[in-house]
Amino acid sequence: MRIRANPNRMQLLRLKRRLVLAKRGHKLLKDKQEELMRRFLGMVHQARALREEVEAELAHAYRAFISARFDMDGSAMEAALAFSQRLVELHADREQVMNLKVPKFTVELPEDAEFGYGYLETTAELDRALELYAAVLPKLLRVAETEKAIQLIAAELEKTRRRVNALEHILVPSLEETIRFISDRLSELERETATRLMKVKEIVRQH
């Protein structure tokens, strides 16, 4: 597809400059795409492994919790959970991946803190269940972080891929075609002038 441009030297120069710029942009974007892809694939593998691990552990914790729940009165359970002192502290940070900011979570879980509820109304099952929950919680955050990063990078990759393709398959070819057209046109004009001059010379000589 040719760009509409007047076939003159001014336009030719301008188009040539645009072509150089487009090619450089294309190269940069392509590099960006490759780097993003490299990180993305690494993260995907990591996320899948992590996800499997977490779902298994979570299922385990859930089972323990259910058995604790059967043994305990609902209101006692509610009270025990409300009194718990093992509060997690979340630090949300950002990590730079290329031009993206992906979330980075760190979690503080007081390891040695007591759950803080009385031993009388609660069962050992609840302790065990909450122990499992405590183990899986930091991993849940890792899953959240990795999967969010994957989603963000996927969106960016898609955008970059579109841009690379637009440059590679549309802008650069059409610039090249237009440049070829203009330089053909200019050399045609040159030949025309030359023949005209020859003709004029001939006419002048005859007189």
Binding site: M37, F40, V44, A47, R48, R51, E55, L58, A59, A61, Y62, F65, I66, R69, M77, A80, L81, A82, S84, R86, L87, V88, L90, A92, R94, K101, V102, P103, F105, L109, F115, A129, L130, Y133, A134, L137, L140, L141, V143, A144, E145, E147, K148, I150, Q151, L152, I153, A154, A155, L157, E158, R161
Partner: protein
Amino acid sequence: MSKIAFIGDRDSVWGFKAFGVAALPVADAEEARETLVAAVKTGYVIIFVTEDVYEACSEQIGEYRDLPIPTVTVLPNIRGSRGLAAAEIHQAVSAAIGADILADSEK
């Protein structure tokens, strides 16, 4: 205030309450949607939802997907996993690469 919220059926989210995070039990799809929107407005950084909630609010969650905050992550509920999270990863991969390259490796 905690920055983490769990939304899902009561049994699935209840236990997390012991860690001082917000456990928001919901009973049906309508309630789930309302709770999710409210939770995002409240400013939770990470919102874990069960697969049921995820399905009920998939449109809403899609809107948050490309934003850095909130991070909405799907979890299996207490009755087990249906593999929605794996599907989510697949979807991201096929969007990014233009082909589902993971599909073959699983078979």
